[in-house]
Symmetry: C2
Subunit: 685 residues, 2 copies
Amino acid sequence: MTAPDPAGFHPAWLPPEAFRAIGSRRVLVFGDGLLAETVHDEVARACARFGGRVRRGAENEPHDLVLALTTVEVLPGVAGEVRPDSATGAEGYLLARRDGVTVVLADDPAGLLYGLFHVVRLGESAFTGERPAEHHRPATRRRMLDHWDNVDVHPVMGQVERGYAGGSIFWHDGAPRGDLARVRAYGRLLAACGINAVAVNNVNVHATEARLLTDRLSDVAAIADVLRPYGIRVHLSVNFASPVALGGLPTADPLDEEVRKWWAGVTERVYDTIPDFGGYVVKADSEGQPGPFAYGRDHADGANLLAEALEPFGGVVHWRAFVYNHRQDWRDRATDRARAAYDHFAPLDGRFRDNVILQVKHGPIDFQVREPVSPVIAAMPATRLAVELQVTQEYTGQQRHVCYLAPMWREVLGFRPWGPDGDAVADVIDGGDLVGVSNVGDDPYWTGHPLAQANLYAFGRLAWAPRSDPAAILDEWIDLTFVPTASGDTEPAATGEIERLRRTLHAIMDDSWRTYERYTAPLGVGFMVRPGHHYGPDVDGYEYTPWGTYHFADRDGVGVDRTRATGTGFTGQYPPPWSEVYESLDRCPDELLLFFHHVPYGHVLHSGSTVIQHVYDTHFAGAEQVEQARRRWVEAAGLFDPSLHARVKELLDEQVRCAEEWRDQINAYFFRKSGVPDVRGRRIP
Amino acid sequence: MTAPDPAGFHPAWLPPEAFRAIGSRRVLVFGDGLLAETVHDEVARACARFGGRVRRGAENEPHDLVLALTTVEVLPGVAGEVRPDSATGAEGYLLARRDGVTVVLADDPAGLLYGLFHVVRLGESAFTGERPAEHHRPATRRRMLDHWDNVDVHPVMGQVERGYAGGSIFWHDGAPRGDLARVRAYGRLLAACGINAVAVNNVNVHATEARLLTDRLSDVAAIADVLRPYGIRVHLSVNFASPVALGGLPTADPLDEEVRKWWAGVTERVYDTIPDFGGYVVKADSEGQPGPFAYGRDHADGANLLAEALEPFGGVVHWRAFVYNHRQDWRDRATDRARAAYDHFAPLDGRFRDNVILQVKHGPIDFQVREPVSPVIAAMPATRLAVELQVTQEYTGQQRHVCYLAPMWREVLGFRPWGPDGDAVADVIDGGDLVGVSNVGDDPYWTGHPLAQANLYAFGRLAWAPRSDPAAILDEWIDLTFVPTASGDTEPAATGEIERLRRTLHAIMDDSWRTYERYTAPLGVGFMVRPGHHYGPDVDGYEYTPWGTYHFADRDGVGVDRTRATGTGFTGQYPPPWSEVYESLDRCPDELLLFFHHVPYGHVLHSGSTVIQHVYDTHFAGAEQVEQARRRWVEAAGLFDPSLHARVKELLDEQVRCAEEWRDQINAYFFRKSGVPDVRGRRIP
């Protein structure tokens, strides 16, 4: 991995060296149109650097790689006998190698682009031996990043809400940044990991951001123009009260005829300006945002209003299910925030229009390091669902801690809400949407922590293929990002060096999510972070607040009773077998125990440890693992660009400090409360 | 009390009606100079309103009131036989009534002004019967308000740090406000309660504020010009690093010759511009402010540097003793913030120049609702000391809660650090300084909460006469503020109405400090406030932070062991008998128990209650008393100006809500931790 280049940003997983294999070959590109141009230009740039050559159209000359649209008549012999045995489908492609020629065929120009990046990932191995035809298709139709970027700097949240990588790549202090080169580079990186949709502003839509829909639409169009060549559509977060705020109407009532007309007219103008506009993203009646409740309407009324306006143009509404009472009285133990999304939305199943996509956070609370999968995902068979993941590390170390999130996401996607014989979450969103909250900013490394680039990459790759192995994705990312340049910018690295580099990164990253879990809130109980910024520990920080995130620790025990028998009844929102598994103190998985049950400190886990001893053990272990990660990193100094190495080292220092702070606060808190000493006699302050 | 007048601010304790008695009399004023002019103008304005008349000089005509400087030859008969039997001293005056003439005599024009306000306070009773000669002199030489006002709006602290009454009356968004009428009115109010010095900017001196010393000195001079007619000198908070930041020197080392010259030159220019400038206020080596430690020097070196520069002009340095480690490791139980001021300063006793005034917060921590008196006050016999009180209600309800602070201050001033036969704190500062952090802002009522005006008034009156009775001061304040206008602007109120009004305010205010104590942090343990803004409860908010303010509650007990026997040894900073009283679990006063001792929840107080039951009882009682105060206020609606009544009612609603929140959080916290039920079976959430 190199240092940021003179353009001011780091190449991430597309350093020039990643194109060496293609760039040193003879390449034919067949096909016309914007995305085929992109493919050609990518190849041409690589060839200019590494001595290969690229030709357009059906020239009959020696070649090593063919990238062709199936709609184009390709001369026999050019692609050998390679033919798709079925349609590749939108965005899909066929990859094969026969008789010394590597072939990528696609029905659709986007497929050609994704096929190109597949060849990039393969590197030299794309050009050796034979390769039987493989059909590749994305599992999901929309692989989308939501940017929580504000146009105006928000007085509390700043330029990017929950952003840990500097300013926004789109906006600066009320205006577009203007630096479209960076947006273009971003689009290229996204295409290379399979992302095809971006929402360009925060779901909390304040006054200035609201105007992107109308008089500032040209700012959005400028971004769309730059992302379009990489097959990425732009979406816009809109304010539900726009008819009042922007349109001067007396109401935003979704059943009001004038309101419907207003949205229809505004939406038509959006499509006049941006013909491939993706649609609207809406956070309504949530944490202070306006919504249909103000007019006595429900969320189906609200979502359908916008869907109706978008329908003629093929646009969609992403309607967020993150709706709960954020002014709860902490004294009220009957209200359970975990229940809120299901209680609000499950009764509406079947009432949403076809182009409404209900966007559901993966867990019932809010992107904690460990949550059960949201029961909403299993509750709405007649509704199109998107699952929302948080790539930005709000609750997982804020891009100051190494926390490779793909293993968590893979668990979510592989979870089977109806039990072992039923569908997985990945099946529910098959052909649908996976949405991630972006973790990039104007930081030179894009993501603050250089290793957090892997989360962005992995999000895209999992959205494309939700059953991928996180360790394999990490290998891909390592190979693209570090291997071409491990020992310098020009020569491939030595094999031994590459192996050491790979082992170092796997040792630091593979288990980093579980490590983070070990030193933070235990056993699924969640939160325990400092209110407001959400960084670092504060066990009681949210315990007596209106936010609905409690742990109920007392001198005898800890955890939230969400059973039907004696608690809030949240377990009843799951279908069997999980409704029974979570209900049962015996069967509930250890890692979610305190999410579902309030137990005495002496309760014995399946692991054989008591809850209190588990707290001590995991916190000592987690902090020690971070210390080990730092040692590994220090030992690997020679394998990385020095400035990148120094930056990660500095961040690991902070992670060690913070993990020890977590360890000591959590342990001290529970020791003071329980009075139970550590059986191993370690020091608890 | 009337509503704010058309000038935009409320008359507070100087409504026009308060001058009715004087204004309807025949008055002679003898004396020349600025302050005598002020006296004359005050009387003239009153007479214009109420039909009396005022004459200058020795005119021989019938008169009811004479205000005369003793330096002026007064015609025999004008003052009758009234003569001072000794010098009145600076700011002192003699008051008498003989043969139908009320006489005020003073050696010094300031005394004449204070005498005038004494007659204002007396009202009609100044003009009835005979009154033997009374000599009045302020106990303290300097009665000073420190404004923590920023010139620039601070991104976190705002325009006024710990200000709860809107913006600054001096500064707005980087510039002087320009509204000198308001500053003039402020000076008049201060003179009427005896204050004679004001520091016009925050002790945390940021970049813009630092420049008040040099290129923005004219901003300070403009304030000085307006306050001078009321006998008030201005002081300036300065940044210790000014020689570097403003002077371009390579160092601010107090022993560096160039640094000394720089301060001498700058100070000379200050006095060229403001000949009666009071001096500098310095917060050094504290909470991030620069200081002598950076150069390996101590606080005596630092303070003496500035004192030397000020000495030729009669100026003083207020050097704050609020120095402690605000980056303490919470795991370190040996470090005790309470010890810090003594540990830093006591060894320096005798090393400060004569014009250094060491400014000591009244308690060892930071203006908590209950603290012991700072041991520094008894530890530095060879140093001039100022005691610092906090009129702004940072930790006592932030001017949203009624909390009349005079009873707390009176306890501090009456405390005898050397035991019952020794001097009181009031004796230590006799002839010296009492300093308060101002509670005013650009709010129409000056202080946010209209009843918080009483704290400002009482501060001035206690600074003048530290042995005053807080209830008597409250009566004065009520009589000036409310009585003249209780039933309208023009006619004196009916006696019955006045009595009801007085009873209402005493019922709400007399015990309000103890009420506040009851529903907040118990038994002297302190803090338990929300970090940052310090409003509302958060029991563990500071428990695991670097700020040094801990309670160490665990399942068995609570409190900080500051004994010599087993704790931090802080008790040893007191002289006997307090070193023994505080050391002893048996003798330590209940209200300070948890400040000095860590005790089990079952520990029995002198009151006969256990600690845990005391916590429950006081919290239920405190919240109930606030509810009672609200009832009293509602019942008294007809006695007050409606808009003022409505504002106080709204604030009392918030106080009720907040007191219940405190009650429930504190009780729940300790119930969860101790497991001890309330013996009275009340609901603890």
